[in-house]
């Protein structure tokens, strides 16, 4: 085994990085991959809550880096999926406790033992973001269909391109087809058109996402949820499988075009 290290970043806060990491990780693990999540948001940890593992934390990533515990000891195993692990962030330290080379070292240690390492990046483009992308083989940039979120995503993509990271793929999260129809929200096409990178998923606005996060059971575990389906599709695409994009809006035409655009470049 040699794990693919995938970092999820956005620039802007609150667009769904943590939600996406938890959901994609559950979907990957449920379909048989061994997955280790790393919460890269030192000082503001919350991936543990969304994954429902907060009361199992003993050690965190800073303990690993500073040698207070072995990597294994900081890997919390999920309650139901035996191949899903979380390395939590430290809550009482700041991002300066971790450096880009620390993150590379930790990931290199995990690589031989897993299929995927998923890293949740903090908001911004400062130190914490640098730490999160340093070990990445692949970066997924997530945005909402809003002007300010798209602007920040564009900035992050520019930095990734300048650093010659393998070209990032895009997740558009919280798309609401009704608002798009009323011209009150950017369409997926508008977003793709501006950012000009490959699309890996479109996730609809869905309140079951919030309910799932609060209960610590990500919606990708719920076979009936539309958002859950979208996250499961992203997991399949990460494994290199071809999956058609969801028809969120029953009108044909637009979605045909998006399918085509997703394949371009």
């Amino acid at each position: 085994m040699t794990a693919q290290v995938v970092t999820i970043s956005s620039g802007k806060g609150g667009v769904g990085k943590t939600t996406a990491v938890a959901n994609i990780a559950f979907a990957l693990a449920a379909s048989g991959s061994k997955v280790v999540c790393i919460d890269g948001d030192i000082g503001l940890r919350n991936l543990d809550v969304v994954m429902g593992l907060e009361n199992r934390i003993v050690y965190d990533i800073v303990d690993v880096i500073e040698g207070r515990c072995k990597l294994r000891q900081a890997m919390i195993r999920d309650k139901h999926l035996p191949e899903l692990y979380l390395i939590p962030a430290a809550q009482t330290r700041d991002k300066n406790a971790v450096s880009p080379s620390d993150m590379k070292r930790v990931c290199d240690e995990i690589r031989p033992e897993a299929d995927f390492v998923l890293i949740d990046s903090p908001a911004g483009i400062e130190r914490g973001f640098r730490n999160a992308i340093a070990p990445a083989d692949r970066v997924l940039v997530i945005t909402n269909p809003e002007v300010s979120a798209v602007r920040d995503a564009d900035r992050v993509i520019g930095i990734l391109e300048a650093e010659e990271k393998h070209s990032p793929a895009l997740i558009i999260n919280r798309l609401n087809p009704d608002l798009v129809k009323q011209h009150d929200m950017l369409s997926a096409e508008d977003v793709l058109d501006l950012l000009g990178i490959k699309l890996i998923g479109i996730v609809p606005e869905d309140e079951s996402v919030i309910v799932g996060s609060n209960r610590g059971v990500p919606v990708s575990q719920d076979p009936k949820s539309r958002a859950g389906q979208a996250f499961r599709n992203i997991a399949h695409r990460l494994k290199g499988e071809e999956v058609p994009f969801l028809d969120l809006d029953k009108q044909a035409g637009l979605w045909d075009r998006i399918q085509k655009m997703a394949g371009r470049r």
Binding site: P100, R155, G158, I159
Partner: protein, 225 residues
């Protein structure tokens, strides 16, 4: 002072430190700087650092490496000043400043334009939000200029793609400078001292050109020929 230290000059600025390097080989310079930091960690820790690299030509990997090494020492690299356009471009791509508030004496070198037609910077990619390109000549982009990106050119600006960001042509006051784009919809437009706000501009995407005629900024359709 030993040899190591004489490679490097350090000055305090209002909001950080300015470190000037000389023209010795880059690897030597970098290790001298880092050694000095490791010897006086308390002096450097938490500092905002502007680096004057003279005429050194630095590529992305070298600058990223230095920035990360500094960041591991809790020093924030925020600006790289250079006489080399390549190095400046690298810094701009990484989102670093290339000017500090006090202008360097060298800047005035470009003040009187007398541009030859050869002085053009070709950028073969899309300029994304947060990128600022400043060039003492013409700028040609084969790609888009996204909202949040900015180009300031002493000469003309030609965009072979979509123009959505901010552009300033003839930045030293040259009224014969032009801005052309295949799809012309800049967020902010300036030519020499004339500015225009295009918020009300509802023209469909088309090739257009902006220039000064009778002391007014006008936009006309552009037929690249």
């Amino acid at each position: 002072m030993n040899d190591l230290h004489s490679l490097i000059q350090i000055k305090g600025l209002r909001d950080g430190l300015l470190v000037s390097l000389n023209d010795a080989p880059w690897a030597e310079q970098q290790s001298a700087l880092l050694t000095q930091m490791d010897q006086q960690p308390s002096f450097f820790q938490g500092a905002r650092l502007a680096l004057d690299v003279g005429s050194q030509i630095l590529h992305v990997n070298e600058m990223v490496d230095l920035r990360d090494q500094l960041s591991e020492r809790n020093v924030l690299l925020w600006a790289v000043l250079s006489e080399s356009p390549t190095t400046e471009q690298t810094a701009q791509l990484l989102g670093l400043a290339t000017r500090i508030s006090k202008p360097r004496p060298e800047e005035t070198r470009f003040a009187s334009s007398g541009l030859s037609d050869e002085t053009a910077l070709f950028i073969n990619k899309t300029l994304r939000s947060g990128t600022r390109v400043e060039f003492p000549g013409h700028v040609v982009v084969l790609g888009d200029v996204n909202p949040g990106a900015e180009i300031v050119a002493v000469g003309s600006i030609i965009i072979w793609g979509r123009l959505r960001g901010a552009v300033h042509a003839g930045s030293n006051g040259d009224g014969s400078a032009k801005v052309c784009a295949l799809d012309f919809a800049p967020m902010q437009l300036r030519v020499a001292k004339e500015a225009m706000n295009l918020n009300e501009d509802k023209e469909p995407a088309s090739p257009r050109m902006a220039f000064i005629r009778d002391e007014r900024l006008v936009i006309e359709s552009w037929k690249p020929s």
